[in-house]
C-alpha cells in the first residue's frame, strides 16, 4: 500500500467511527452487574496480510480445524486418542466443556466445529503462533465486515488502488456451511436477545445469510422436530440452528433445568438427526485451554502431518517436568486459568510482586490442572491512530474458519488491539479496539 492511500483511509477515521455509531455497531458488557453497551473503537489503519503469508496461514488453519473436528468426533465416540495415551483421560473428563450428554451423537456429515475462531499472533520474526482456539460460539466476524463496508463508502479509492480480497464472501461461506448442516428446513439464528454482548452481530448475520433471527420463545420441539412459531399461529420447520447461546442453556430438559433461554427437547431432535446445531454442543472439550497443548499432537495423530502453525510454547503444570519449569520461571511466564475466557484469568508473572508470585506458585502447586503457562511471545506491534498520532500497539488476529463440505478460511478476520501501550491483552471485553484485516490477492 502506498503512503497516499494509507493517509486517505486514516483521514476518514472519524467519519467511519461516526458511521459505526450510527449503525449501532456496539458490543455489550456486564460490569458489576450492570449492562453497558460500549462502542467498539475502530481503527482505520487496516492490518495487511500479504498473499504469501495468508496462503501459509490458510493451510495451517485448515489443518488445525480438520484435526480438531476429528478429535471431537473421536472424544464423543471411540476415544482412540485417549486409549492410545496421546491425551490423558483427566484432561477430557475434568474439562467443563466435555458434555457426557453428547456421547454418541453424530452431527450431520461429522462436522462439530462449523465456525472456528482461531486467535493468532505474529511474532517480530514474522512467524505466526496460535494463541487459542474458539470452537463454541466465536464472535466478531461482523465487525470487519461492516468496517469494510463503511470504509468502502468513506474511501473507495483505497480499494481501487489495492488488490484486497473482498471479505463480503463471509455471508456466502456461512450460508454454505449452514446448508451443509441443514437437516431439512429453514435456517435460523438463535439469539438470547438484545441484552446479549453480540446482539448486533446476530441480527447482522441473519440479515446477510437470509436466516430467520429467532428467540427461544418462538421455537418449540414437537414430534422430535424443531419448529418456528409463525405470526399466524402456524409452524415452519427449522433444519439448522446457528445458536448464539451457550451449551448449558440450550435445552433445559438435558442441561441446566433453570435455563429460561433454551428450547426443551432440542437435544432429542438433534440426537435424532432432525435438526443441525451450529456449532455442535460439547465442542468446549476441544477449545479448553488445557487441551490446547495437545492440538499439535492431534494433528500428527489424526492427519499424520506435521503441524504447519505453531502453538505458543506452553507448559502444563500437570506434568512434573513442566511444573518444575513453571515454578522456577513464573516471573517471566504468562499463566492462564483454563476455566476463564474473554481475557479474564490471564496473569503475567512479570506484573506480580514477590509476595504475589509466591502465593500464585502455591496455588499452581495445589491445583496443577487449573493452569497452563506460556512463554510471552514478543508479538508484532501494529500502528494505530491515537488522537491524530500513529502509535504502536499489540494486536492479535482472530481468523474465521468455516467447515462445510470443505474447510475454508475467510480471507479477512478480526484484528484486535490493546489501547493500553503496556498491555498484551486485546480482548474487546478488556477495552480493546479493532481493525479491518486486509488480505492481498497478489
Amino acid at each position: 500500500m502506498t503512503q497516499q492511500q494509507f493517509t486517505k483511509a486514516v483521514g476518514n477515521a472519524n467519519e467511519i467511527n461516526e458511521l459505526l455509531r450510527r449503525y449501532g455497531v456496539k458490543f455489550g458488557i456486564y460490569k458489576n452487574g450492570v449492562f453497558n453497551e460500549q462502542f467498539f473503537p475502530f481503527d482505520p489503519i487496516p492490518r495487511v496480510i500479504t498473499h504469501e503469508d495468508f496462503q501459509s496461514i490458510e493451510k495451517g488453519l485448515v489443518q488445525r480445524v480438520n484435526a480438531l473436528n476429528e478429535f471431537l468426533f473421536d472424544i464423543y465416540h471411540d476415544k482412540k486418542i485417549v486409549n492410545d495415551g496421546v491425551v490423558p483421560e483427566d484432561f477430557i473428563y475434568i474439562s467443563k466443556g466435555y458434555l457426557a450428554q453428547c456421547e454418541g451423537i453424530t452431527p450431520k456429515n461429522n462436522v462439530y466445529s462449523h465456525i472456528s475462531g482461531i486467535d493468532l499472533v505474529q511474532a517480530k520474526d514474522g512467524e505466526w503462533y496460535i494463541l487459542e482456539d474458539n470452537l463454541r460460539i466465536p464472535s466478531g466476524a461482523s465487525y470487519p465486515l461492516i468496517a469494510r463496508e463503511l470504509t468502502r463508502i468513506a474511501a473507495p479509492q483505497a480499494f481501487e488502488e489495492n488488490s484486497v480480497v473482498d471479505n463480503r464472501s463471509y455471508a456466502k461461506l456461512l450460508k454454505e456451511t449452514m446448508e451443509y448442516a441443514n437437516c431439512g428446513g429453514i435456517r435460523a439464528i438463535l439469539t438470547p436477545g438484545r441484552y446479549n454482548a453480540a446482539y448486533f452481530e446476530h441480527s447482522y448475520l441473519a440479515e446477510h445469510t437470509g436466516s430467520v433471527l429467532v428467540q427461544n420463545d418462538e421455537l418449540f420441539v414437537e414430534d422430535n422436530m424443531l419448529y418456528h412459531r409463525t405470526y399466524s399461529g402456524g409452524k415452519t420447520r427449522i433444519g439448522v440452528l446457528y445458536r448464539r447461546i451457550a451449551d448449558e442453556y440450550l435445552d433445559p430438559l438435558t442441561f441446566l433445568p433453570e435455563s429460561l433461554i433454551g428450547i426443551p427437547n432440542l437435544m432429542e431432535a438433534y440426537r435424532s438427526g432432525n435438526v443441525g446445531i451450529i456449532n455442535a454442543p460439547g465442542n468446549g472439550v476441544a477449545d479448553d485451554k488445557g487441551i490446547y497443548y495437545f492440538v499439535p499432537k492431534m494433528i500428527k495423530y489424526y492427519l499424520e502431518e506435521e503441524p504447519i502453525l505453531k502453538n505458543a510454547p506452553t507448559y502444563l503444570p500437570f506434568y512434573n517436568n513442566d511444573m518444575k519449569y513453571v515454578t522456577e520461571h513464573l516471573d517471566t511466564l504468562v499463566i492462564k486459568d483454563v476455566a476463564e475466557a474473554g481475557g479474564y484469568g490471564v496473569v503475567f508473572g512479570s506484573d506480580l510482586t514477590k509476595e504475589k508470585l509466591e502465593e500464585f506458585r502455591k496455588t499452581i502447586i495445589a491445583e496443577p490442572r487449573r493452569f497452563i503457562a506460556q512463554e510471552v511471545i514478543d508479538f508484532l506491534d501494529l500502528p494505530i491512530l491515537d488522537k491524530g498520532k500513529t502509535v504502536m500497539r499489540k494486536a492479535d488476529l482472530r481468523a474465521f474458519i468455516l467447515s462445510g463440505k470443505e474447510t475454508k478460511v475467510w480471507a479477512s478476520g478480526l484484528t484486535r488491539f490493546s489501547r493500553n501501550p503496556d498491555s498484551f491483552v486485546v480482548n474487546s471485553s478488556q477495552g480493546g479496539g479493532f481493525k479491518d484485516t486486509w488480505v492481498l490477492s497478489r
Partner: protein
Amino acid sequence: MKRINFYYSTKLTFDDYVHNHSFALRIIPPETPSQINISCALNINPFVSTQQTIDAFGNNVTSGYLREDHRFLDFEIKGTADIDHTKYRTDYMPCYLYQSEYTQPDSILKNFYDGIKGNCTGSASERAAYLSNVLSDTISYEKGSTDTKTTAAQAFMLKKGVCQDFSHILISLLRMDGIAARYIAGLAFCDGETHSWVEYWTGDHWEGIDPANNCPISDDYLVISQGRDFRDCAIDRGVMFGKYTKQLQLVRSVLS
C-alpha cells in the same frame, strides 16, 4: 432369574391451566443383558403424541409436547420383565470415574474419605461394601430431610437423607477411591415410590449395591434409568407455561 411385574405412575396436577408443555420421561426400563422387557405399556393422559430416543447413558427417553391448555398430566407404565443379575452389564463410560454435579465433594466429605481410606482395601466389591457400611453407620435414613436438589456434600453435612442422598454420597466416595460408579433410579421391593441405588465398575462389569439398605442388589431390583447422578436419571422432566403456582406430584409404584 426372576420374572417381575412392574407398575409405576405419576400424576402431575396444576392449580391453573398450563400450555406449551414439553416433557422428557425416562420411564421405560432399558433392555440390558440382565433385564429383558417381556411386555411394557406406557399410557399418557391427556393424549399426546410422543417420540422415543435413547440418550447418552442408554436410557429410553419419551418426549412430547402438549400445546393446548391442560391442568394435569398423568403417565403410567405397566409391564413384565425378566431380571437376572448374574448376566453382566458392561456398558462402561469413562465419565463415571469423575465427580459430577451432585457428587462433587466439599472439604468435609474429602476429609471424611481421607480418614477412612486406609481401611478401604481389597477388590472393588470389598471396597464398595466397606464404604457402604461406613455410610450406614454415619448417615441416618430420614424421609423429608432432603429434597431432589440436595447434593452429596449437603446431605453428608446433615448426616441424614433418603435413598438418593445415600447413592450420591456413596458414588462420591467410590469415585474418590478411583472406582467408576453410576446412579440408578428404579423400582425395588422395599418401598412404594421409586428407589435409587448405585452400580460400581469391578474392572470388567457393573455390580449393584443399595447403600440405603446397605446390601447388594438382587433380582428384585428393576433399573429404570441410569447416569452420573440424579440429574441424568430424573424420571420426568418438564417445562410448561401458565399462571399456575403449584404443581402437585403423586407417585405410585408396585413391583410384584
